[in-house]
C-alpha cells in the first residue's frame, strides 16, 4: 500500500513496476493460500471467511486453495485442518512443533516464509487481526514482496493478477492495489468483512506435513503468560454483534449507566466516544472510533454522540446504525440508518424498558 496515495506522483514517477512481465523465477508460483489463525486451539473465524474468498480466487485462477495451520497440538491441528477442508481448502499444510504453542512473530515468520519459499504460492491471505498484521508485515518484508492491508474487496483482474481494494485516509478514498512483479501477492482482510462460507460437512483434501525444526532455546522471545479476556473485564467490542454507545449528550458520568442498562437488556457490549474517555466516564478500552476500537456489529445504537469523522470511521461497518441526538443537524444523522431527534437521557430508559418487555414477551411466546 502506497504511503502517499496521491495519484499525481504515481503518474509522474515513471511507474517502473507496472510493466507486466513477471520475473522468470516467480513464474512457478501457483495456488492461493490462507495462513490460518489459531489462538489457544481455536481457529479464528476470519480464517474461514478468507477460505471462502480464497476459494473464489482459486477457481478464477484455476488453481488449488491451500490453508496453513501452525501449532503444537497435533489433535487440534488435525481438527483445524478438517474444518479448513469443509470451508473450501483443497490442501492443508500442517506445521506442528512445541515452539509453535503460542503465536510469536519470530517463529511464525520463519515457518511461514519457509513454507512460501518451498511451495511457492502466488497469493497469500491473512486476517487483518493483531496477529495477522504482525505476521504479514514481517513475512512480506522478509520476502520483499507487496502487501495490501485491510482489503475490503479481492478480485482477479483480466490478466490474472490479484486486485486488492482497500479504504485509505480513514475511509474517504478507496484504492485498488496490485503486486505485479513480485510473489506471492499478499493481502490482509479484517474480520467480518467477507461473508462466512457455507460449511460442507465431510469435504476433505490433501494434508502436507511440514517439519519446522525450531530449537526453542534459540528463540529469543518467550511467552511468560496469557491473560484471556474472558478472565478479565476487558471489552470485546470488535467482535460484538450488538453495541450501545454514549457520548457527551448524556450530560454526566452518572447518566452513562443508561447506556449500560440498555446494553444489559440487549446482551450487548457498550462503549463511548473519545471525549468520554478524556473525561474519565469510561475506560480507554471502550473507546469507539479512530484511535479507539473499530466495530462491525449487526446493530449499533449511538446515544448522544454527534458523529464526528473520527467516530464515523470506527462504526461505519455496522449493518444498522441507530442514532439518538437532540441536534437534528448532528453529523451522525448523515450516516445513521435510523434516527430520532430526542434527548438520550429521557429516551434511553424508555427504550430499555420497551426492549425488555418486547423481548421477554416473545421469549414466553416461543
Amino acid at each position: 500500500m502506497a504511503e502517499e496515495t496521491r495519484p499525481a506522483p504515481a503518474r509522474a514517477g515513471g511507474r517502473a513496476n507496472t510493466k507486466k512481465e513477471l520475473p522468470e523465477h516467480f513464474k512457478a508460483y501457483k495456488h492461493v493460500w490462507v495462513a490460518v489463525e489459531i489462538e489457544h486451539g481455536e481457529v479464528h473465524s476470519v480464517s474461514f471467511e478468507l477460505l471462502g474468498e480464497g476459494r473464489k480466487l482459486a477457481d478464477k485462477r484455476g488453481v488449488e486453495l491451500a490453508a496453513v495451520v501452525m501449532g503444537d497440538d497435533r489433535e487440534a491441528l488435525g481438527a483445524a485442518a478438517s474444518a479448513c477442508f469443509e470451508y473450501g481448502a483443497d490442501c492443508v499444510y500442517i506445521a506442528c512443533d512445541p515452539a509453535l504453542r503460542h503465536y510469536r512473530n519470530e517463529t511464525s515468520t520463519r515457518v511461514l516464509t519457509d513454507l512460501v519459499n518451498t511451495y511457492q504460492p502466488e497469493i497469500l491471505l491473512l486476517g487483518a487481526t493483531n496477529l495477522g498484521r504482525d505476521l504479514a508485515g514481517s513475512v512480506a518484508t522478509t520476502l520483499k514482496t507487496g502487501l495490501t492491508a485491510d482489503s475490503t474487496e479481492l478480485a482477479i483482474d483480466e490478466e490474472g493478477s490479484l486486485a486488492a481494494t482497500r479504504p485509505t485516509f480513514g475511509g474517504s478514498l478507496l484504492c485498488t492495489i496490485f503486486t505485479l512483479n513480485f510473489r506471492p501477492q499478499m493481502a490482509t482482510v479484517r474480520p467480518r468483512v467477507m461473508a462466512m462460507p457455507e460449511r460442507c460437512e465431510g469435504r476433505t483434501g490433501r494434508i502436507v506435513e511440514f517439519a519446522p525444526q525450531i530449537v526453542e532455546e534459540e528463540v529469543v522471545t518467550k511467552v511468560l503468560s496469557f491473560i484471556a479476556d474472558r478472565d478479565s473485564d476487558k471489552a470485546a467490542l470488535p467482535y460484538a454483534d450488538v453495541v450501545v454507545a454514549g457520548g457527551l449528550g448524556l450530560g454526566s458520568a452518572e447518566n452513562f449507566r443508561l447506556v449500560r442498562e440498555l446494553a444489559e437488556v440487549l446482551g450487548a457490549e457498550y462503549g463511548g466516544s473519545r471525549p468520554l474517555v478524556q473525561k474519565g466516564w469510561i475506560t480507554a478500552d471502550r473507546q469507539i472510533g479512530q484511535t479507539g476500537k473499530t466495530i462491525r456489529p449487526k446493530l449499533y445504537i449511538a446515544a448522544g454522540i454527534s458523529g464526528a469523522i473520527q467516530h464515523r470511521v470506527g462504526v461505519e461497518g455496522a449493518d444498522v446504525i441507530v442514532a439518538i441526538n437532540t441536534d437534528p443537524a448532528a453529523p451522525i444523522f448523515e450516516f445513521a440508518h435510523l434516527g430520532i431527534v430526542a434527548d438520550a437521557v429521557t429516551l434511553l430508559p424508555a427504550l430499555t424498558q420497551a426492549f425488555a418487555r418486547r423481548l421477554r414477551v416473545n421469549k414466553m411466546a416461543s
Binding site: 513496476n17 489462538e39 519470530e106 522478509t142 474472558r230 430520532i340
Partner: protein, 285 residues
C-alpha cells in the same frame, strides 16, 4: 540508553475532503498533525527517559514541511529530531518506506549510539497499514513487539524487556532481548504537556536533515515508487450513501417514541429482530 521514536506527519483526518471530480485528496489548506498513534509511542519513550535518563531521538520521513511535526516532538521532550527527506522517496509504499527508515536508523545508530528501543505507533491514520513497524524490525533484525499495551519491565543491565501485548482474545506477556521495535497500542498513556523551556528550545533547535545519500542509500531503485512492489492502479471515492437516516417521529411520551423507534428498527432490519430475540432467550434463561 538511546531511544528512537518514528513519527509520521499526517493530514488531520477531520479536515480531509475528496475532490468530487478528480477523486484526489484535497490537501491544500488541510492542517497536518503528528499521527495520533505515534504520540502514544513518543510518550512511552519519554517515560523511559524520565526513568532511565535515556536520550530520545524523533525520526520522521516526509516532505520538508514535516519538520513542523519534529519540532512539536521536541516541545514534548524529545532530545533530537531527524528529518529524512528526498524527492526519491515520493510514492514509497510500506516496503520502500521501511527500507529508507531502516537506513536512517542505521545512520542514527552510528552517529548517536545504537538505540535499545525503536518505538512507533501501531499504524498511521492516513495509510492505516500497520506494516512499517514490522518492516523496520525485519530489516534491522530487531525483536518485534507490536500492539504493546504496557511495558512491564526494562532491565538495561540484562538487556531484557518484558511487555504486555494485545492479542486477539487476551493479553500476552512477552519477554525478549533488546534491541527491540515496539509499536504502542492506542490509549495506553496520555501525552504530557511540554514545558515552556522545552517549547523555547524546540523553536531554536536544529532539525537534522538527511537525504537518501546521507543515509547511505546508493541503489535508488529501492526507494519511492520504483522500490515499491505494490502499485496503486485506481483511486476512487466510495459510493456516497444517498439515503439519509430515516427519522422517527419525536411525538408522544418517551414510551411511545421508544416503541416507534423499535418498530422502525424491526421493520427495516428483520434480521436484527430475530437476532435480538435469540439473544434475549439466551439472556433470560
Amino acid at each position: 540508553m538511546h531511544i528512537v521514536v518514528c513519527i509520521k506527519q499526517v493530514p488531520d483526518s477531520a479536515q480531509i475532503r475528496v475532490h468530487p471530480v478528480t477523486n484526489t485528496i484535497m490537501r491544500q489548506g488541510v492542517p497536518t498533525i503528528i499521527n495520533p498513534y505515534d504520540l502514544f509511542a513518543l510518550e512511552e519513550a519519554l517515560r523511559l527517559k524520565d526513568r532511565f535518563g535515556a536520550s530520545v531521538t524523533a525520526l520522521c520521513m516526509g516532505p520538508p514541511t514535516a519538520s513542523e511535526s519534529l519540532r512539536k516532538a521536541l516541545t514534548f521532550g524529545a532530545d533530537r529530531a531527524v528529518l529524512l527527506t528526498d524527492r526519491y522517496f515520493a510514492g514509497s509504499d510500506t516496503l520502500a518506506t521501511s527500507y529508507a527508515l531502516s537506513m536512517a536508523l542505521t545512520r542514527i545508530g552510528a552517529d548517536y549510539g545504537t538505540p535499545e528501543i525503536v518505538f512507533t505507533g501501531k499504524q498511521t491514520i492516513d495509510g492505516d497499514t500497520a506494516q512499517v513497524g514490522p518492516g523496520i524490525a525485519s530489516r534491522l533484525g530487531l525483536n518485534q513487539l507490536t500492539y504493546i499495551s504496557r511495558i512491564v519491565e526494562t532491565d538495561l543491565d540484562a538487556g531484557r524487556i518484558t511487555v504486555e501485548r494485545r492479542a486477539e482474545t487476551g493479553t500476552q506477556v512477552l519477554e525478549t532481548r533488546l534491541p527491540v521495535l515496539v509499536t504502542m497500542l492506542e490509549a495506553t498513556n496520555t501525552m504530557r504537556r511540554g514545558t515552556v523551556e522545552q517549547a523555547l528550545s524546540a523553536a531554536r533547535a536544529e532539525i537534522v536533515t538527511w537525504n537518501a545519500a546521507d543515509v547511505g542509500i546508493e541503489d535508488l531503485t529501492k526507494c519511492g515508487l520504483r522500490g515499491s512492489p505494490t502499485i496503486v492502479k485506481k483511486v476512487f471515492a466510495p459510493t456516497a450513501r444517498t439515503d439519509k437516516a430515516e427519522i422517527v417521529s419525536n411525538e408522544g411520551s418517551a414510551e411511545t417514541r421508544a416503541n416507534a423507534l423499535i418498530d422502525a428498527l424491526f421493520a427495516r432490519a428483520p434480521g436484527v429482530e430475530d437476532d435480538l430475540y435469540a439473544r434475549a432467550v439466551h439472556h433470560y434463561v
